[in-house]
Subunit: 219 residues, 2 copies
């Protein structure tokens, strides 16, 4: 695969992740070959969109033959940095933190979760889905000696901005933000990926309401 | 506000939700006026992007004066269908279902959560964060008599597709999908909003890995 100097759009990267998910599914079902048409159909995109996304990273398949599912899966994993040994810590073991510890397939994403931290003395020392919860002092200590690649921020909304600032000051370069509070990168070296459930529900509400208004008009 | 016949892009709708979140924040801090420049800066967009998004829905402010925070908040809520009396049910009270029941601000989003359902006999009858968990028969009964606007799907990956099909057949029009399995609309009347945590982490991994490769090259 050639490394391309062109700029890849954020939307392309997000679609790559969808392709990867679908390819993992196909592979687990024993499917060996697929096509841009099939992938597109399964994911609600056109074949041309799929081909265009892949073309940003070079050629993955042969014209008229399609793609080898396993090779394509591996290529996309390489592009996305899955299995490149990234590490993460989780900060804030409330409901959402617990849900991530219990359910999130960190290993499948190639991310090694090193530790979980919380300020609540009732939680510290307990084991949550196999992960021992550590206190703030332990977090301070870790960040002095061994920086993880990603901090997963699950603290309360009120603590979000100050926690992000604290992490940035200690050299964390990527924050996966679950606080439901918009966090702008505290400095230019920090990447923030905001997960906002409300945005997603609002989007659905918009379309549902629009649909309702239209069907009201028709009746 | 005029109702516009033009097509609004999905990205615009998602940004509207971000504006709304920020306006609610500003309002709670007692801020009365804002501008496209300020909103843009707070959210990482340009002022022109903000103005362009609002222009899809008519005029909200006065040139040179800015926006009244409360009025703008209300206008966006109206566009998004917040407070238009939408209802939802939650299906699957595992970790993610529990996290939503415990944390998600349904009321703030103007969505009334009517009930929660699970097939696990151990869960049925218990109360999870104030919501009594009901069984499959109760779900069947509800869907026969009173269709909610939105079904929040939190069942396991394996059950995702069949659950979506079941809901569509009973007339559900919108599915908020937390199963981490891509669901295509089972028929053209059903809207699906997929929430994929992995896509979000993959995006972060891509940028972290890219950054690491670049700094390796420089050293």
């Amino acid at each position: 695969m050639r490394t391309s100097p062109i700029t890849i759009s954020d939307n392309t990267i997000r679609r790559l992740s969808k392709y990867l998910r679908k390819l993992q599914e196909l592979e687990s079902e024993g499917v060996q070959k697929t096509s841009s048409f099939e992938l597109g159909t399964l994911l609600g995109h056109t074949a041309s969109q799929v081909r265009q996304d892949f073309s940003c990273f070079g050629e993955f398949g042969q014209q008229g033959y399609g793609y080898n599912v396993t090779l394509l899966r591996k290529s996309i994993e390489e592009i996305l940095g899955v299995n490149s040994g990234l590490t993460a810590i989780l900060i804030g073991v409330g409901n959402i933190g617990k849900a991530l510890l219990a359910n999130f397939p960190f290993e499948e994403c190639g991310v090694r979760l090193l530790a979980a931290y919380d300020a609540d003395p009732k939680l510290v020392g307990s084991s949550v889905h196999g992960m021992k919860v550590q206190n703030r002092a332990a977090l301070d200590k870790r960040l002095k000696h061994e920086l993880p690649d990603i901090a997963i921020l699950c603290v309360s909304q009120n603590e979000a901005v100050s926690a992000a600032k604290y992490l940035a000051e200690r050299g964390i370069q990527a924050i996966w933000n679950y606080t439901n509070r918009e966090i702008l990168p505290p400095d230019s070296h920090v990447m923030v990926e905001n997960v906002h459930f409300t945005d997603s529900l609002h989007t659905l509400c918009y379309y549902v309401t629009k649909e309702k208004k239209q069907s009201k008009k028709q009746n």
